[in-house]
Symmetry: C2
Subunit: 201 residues, 2 copies
Amino acid sequence: MNYSSKIIENAVKALSGFPGIGTRSALRMVVFLLKRPKEEVNQLAESLMLLKTTLKSCRVCHNISDEEVCNICKSPNRNHRQLCVVEDMQDVMAIENTAQFNGLYHVLGGVIAPMDGVGPDSLNINSLVTRIENGHFEEVIIALNPNVEGDTTTFYIARKLKTASVQISTISKGISIGSELEFADEITLGKSISLRVPYQV
Amino acid sequence: MNYSSKIIENAVKALSGFPGIGTRSALRMVVFLLKRPKEEVNQLAESLMLLKTTLKSCRVCHNISDEEVCNICKSPNRNHRQLCVVEDMQDVMAIENTAQFNGLYHVLGGVIAPMDGVGPDSLNINSLVTRIENGHFEEVIIALNPNVEGDTTTFYIARKLKTASVQISTISKGISIGSELEFADEITLGKSISLRVPYQV
């Protein structure tokens, strides 16, 4: 690609580093920025730099946070007897958006994946065990993705917590609400039959 | 959406201002940046700010440029007797990439579109006329998009240049190379028949 300016070329190269954004999309973004007021572009640039300079990992739950301890961990309005174990900050956001959970979180920072060189020690599992041993939790909900790595990690954590006097749950798996049985994949449909629940009238 | 941090929320909002990028894509970009080294993020931010602080419009052709006069206008290796009139800088890049044109450019900065309040005076048409009257151009190629606005603007410019002793051309329109007739739209196929060219053996 011939760019009429080195500055444009650099901006396109930097933007096309994002996943799913190619040279053409990056160029469209640059042209868009060229037409915006200077203040708006500076604000964007500053908000990106702040990501790396100001953000911390919460000392308690390892979720991303503006402060030492995050708002959820500090809040007196949350149920401090329920703990939800998730893989990363996006999962926290997804669960928060459901408004179905009012307890605390513990972010593992990944799942056990020996093929990618990720063992239990590179995750926040030890701090989870310590947190449960020293806390007053009644229930730990393990909410990991339903795949091999997620299931392995769930099994590993559940075994680690066996001796702790705490109820361990996992999120339910089955047919998505609003979907149609005939279009569901076989494994999910099979699971939803074997994991069937009694129907209350 | 519940964000665990105001800084993340601001970055997501700023990024989702781009055309074609929604909240989810913006969040994915933020998560990607969080995992990159600080230097890389700063470099991205700086290259975006440079877009607004350093870039100029070439005094001669109005293309975007690092300097007062752009590299194409300054180059002694270009044909200074041919001028190609385009809508914006992306068109310059697209034509440069074909390597089929070695003349100079003139960037209008848009096309005549009365519905959007864009008249001839808000475009770089007067400077085009002056440039041709004072220059030594032999040919002016008007390369605008083949739609109502593009055709109107082509007609307007051609009439303005009627008295200048210069050959006026437009880019050819017709069936795309490599496409199939049966899938071409009716208007293009019709045009490609009415605009047929003699075949040389």
